[in-house]
Amino acid sequence: MIEVDQLNLVTSEFMAIIEAIELTKTYRVFQKQEGVLGAIRGLYHREYREVRAVDRISFAIEPGEMVAFLGPNGAGKTTTLKMLAGLVYPTSGEARVLDFVPWQRADLFRRQFSLVMGQKNQLWWDLPAADSFQLHREIYSIPQAEFDKTLGDLTELLGVAKLTRQAVRELSLGERMKMELIAALLHGPRLLLLDEPTIGLDVVAQAAIQKCLRDYHSQRGVTMLLTSHYMRDVEALCDRVLVINHGAMVYDGPLSGIIEKFGESKLVKLQFEGLAPDDLGRFGQVVRREGPFADIRIERSRVSEILSAVLDRHALADVTVEDPPLEEIIAKVFEEARLDHDAA
């Protein structure tokens, strides 16, 4: 840790917003036995199992980055976010967030970030959102003029200006989430930690949240780390992706890199002048063949070779080459990580 501190001193201007070093969290989980007898036995003899939720992960996030944090359910994403927000102590390892040790929960630290959890609400249920915003203004001591401006901008951006006087419990899930987001952004945090901010929302509401985050990022240069199971969120917002599985880091790099690394095949969509021939199976896996249309999945390295072979033989009206959907690639990354984990 000493070396890291010294490094921070020298390069404080370019200091990472988040720096995690070998961060590890182990939970002790009570193993309840089956049946009544088991429950009684559990009263005096408890069996525990150690669960390593996060396993020695290290990464650094620079100011202004928008990073997606991906992994299947139970991979350790939320636990990591909780450690970075200072809610949970790590079992071992170090972290510095905004130059603070998060779990010391310094007042100044808490004024500079927001944690938004898609399934938890922070607003007062029985009050209009506007009252909760006022409360935030006092808690974070935001100057009135700045508060008014930020609030005006955000409610307009999210199209909820008319709803702030309505009790939060009467809002739809999408409207409520927008209000949560506004509450989280009011004090102008330098760091936003978002845990599935679009969960359960329809496509329109999802897009509105994405747009708000994007605009806010371009205006304020806020740093964001978000988890999501919707690849739309990731594609719309993030250039860099961290993938964890079983608590360990599997991938850290640009989003395009993940497609290159794990997307081994491409989807070639062909439109023939006449009917699509029925011998396309030798080029690759035929996904669809209907009239003049045929979609073939082809190994990445062989795309140009196969395309010219097809062109030699047939007259084509149109060709498009696509990467497989990101969902498919991510699923594959998760699957490979699972196999590695099981083997080890």
Partner: protein, 305 residues
């Protein structure tokens, strides 16, 4: 581990001046210091809490009126107890004083009872809503105290008319209004009973850090408190070791003590001593609730959050 170009470098020409804000060493809102800033913040919490309380006005009014109904049966019960015993005094209380005492414990409880406080803390812990006190720059206990003050202010404001009406109707049970000094001591004892009640229940709520399910514990504590605070009957009425023991415990300050101050049963230096003791208990429970909160947070942060 290198971030993509362009995004990482804070020195790159920013699309707007705001981008440079992200790397400012100091936040734009320095935390306000001093008691005035804190007071201002909590005044706002108070105002917002107050308007939340007012949301359920009709429920509130109905609750207040229904609260008085058992009084009628209590008065009739004590009337028959005094008549059948044939004594004019029970443990130093005449019949009229007894009824006055029971009416006054209602006032005491109006200050010292904290419906839902302990259960609310336990629920915040269990359901994880406690997070917001850890993430936002606000202290949970101070926040809850402000919220409770708002709650009490709303309650007292709204029930002042029915209470005044009740005491006018029942004025025959009182020997007039006590002198100014007694009234001041009474007011002080009520404010302190609010603090004792608040920090006591807050301490009970902190048990939620160690046990997931606290409903039955809370039920036992609250039922017991109803009796040992003297809400049901004056503590003097109990057989000798018990009344002495209960009067040494802090619970008497939540109902018994303010009532007997008003009835001028405790006066002079004895009154001063008890007011100091009441203050001491408020401080003891404050320290206890803070200590438990600290310990609880350690555990919470280690096991889950």
């Amino acid at each position: 581990m290198t971030p993509p170009d362009g995004l990482a470098a804070p020195s790159a020409p920013a699309p707007s001046s705001a981008a440079t804000l992200a790397v400012e060493p100091l936040p734009r809102h320095a935390p306000p210091r001093g008691p005035i800033a804190t007071l201002k913040k909590h005044t706002k919490i108070l105002r917002v809490s107050l308007s939340e309380r007012m949301t359920y006005r009709s429920d509130f009014l109905l609750g207040t009126i229904l609260r008085f109904l058992p009084l009628v049966t209590t008065i009739l019960l004590w009337k028959s107890i005094y008549e059948s015993s044939g004594a004019s005094e029970l443990a130093g209380f005449r019949y009229r004083e007894m009824i006055a005492y029971l009416l006054l414990t209602h006032i005491s409880r109006m200050f010292s009872s904290m419906p839902g406080l302990a259960a609310g803390i336990a629920r915040d812990i269990r359901e994880g809503t406690l997070k917001r006190y850890l993430i936002q720059p606000v202290d949970m206990i101070a926040y809850l105290l402000t919220y409770r003050v708002a709650h009490k202010l709303a309650y007292i404001t709204m029930s002042i008319i029915p209470y005044v009406a009740l005491f006018v109707v029942c004025r025959g049970y009182f020997d007039g209004i006590p002198d100014a000094l007694t009234l001041a001591a009474y007011a002080l004892s009520l404010v302190l009973s609010f603090l004792v009640g608040f920090y006591f229940e807050a301490s009970v709520g902190m048990v939620g850090f160690w046990f997931l399910e606290v409903t039955s514990l809370l039920y036992i504590v609250m039922t017991l408190n109803f009796f040992i605070s003297g809400h049901m009957l004056p503590l003097d009425l109990l057989p000798s070791p018990w009344s002495t023991i209960l009067k040494a415990l802090p619970f008497q300050y939540m109902a018994y003590f303010p009532a007997v101050v008003f009835l001028r049963k405790i006066t002079g230096w004895n009154l001063v001593l008890h007011l100091l003791l009441e203050l001491t208990w408020a401080v003891v429970f404050m320290v206890l609730s803070r200590g438990l909160y600290r310990l609880g947070l350690k555990r919470y942060s280690a096991y889950g959050g």
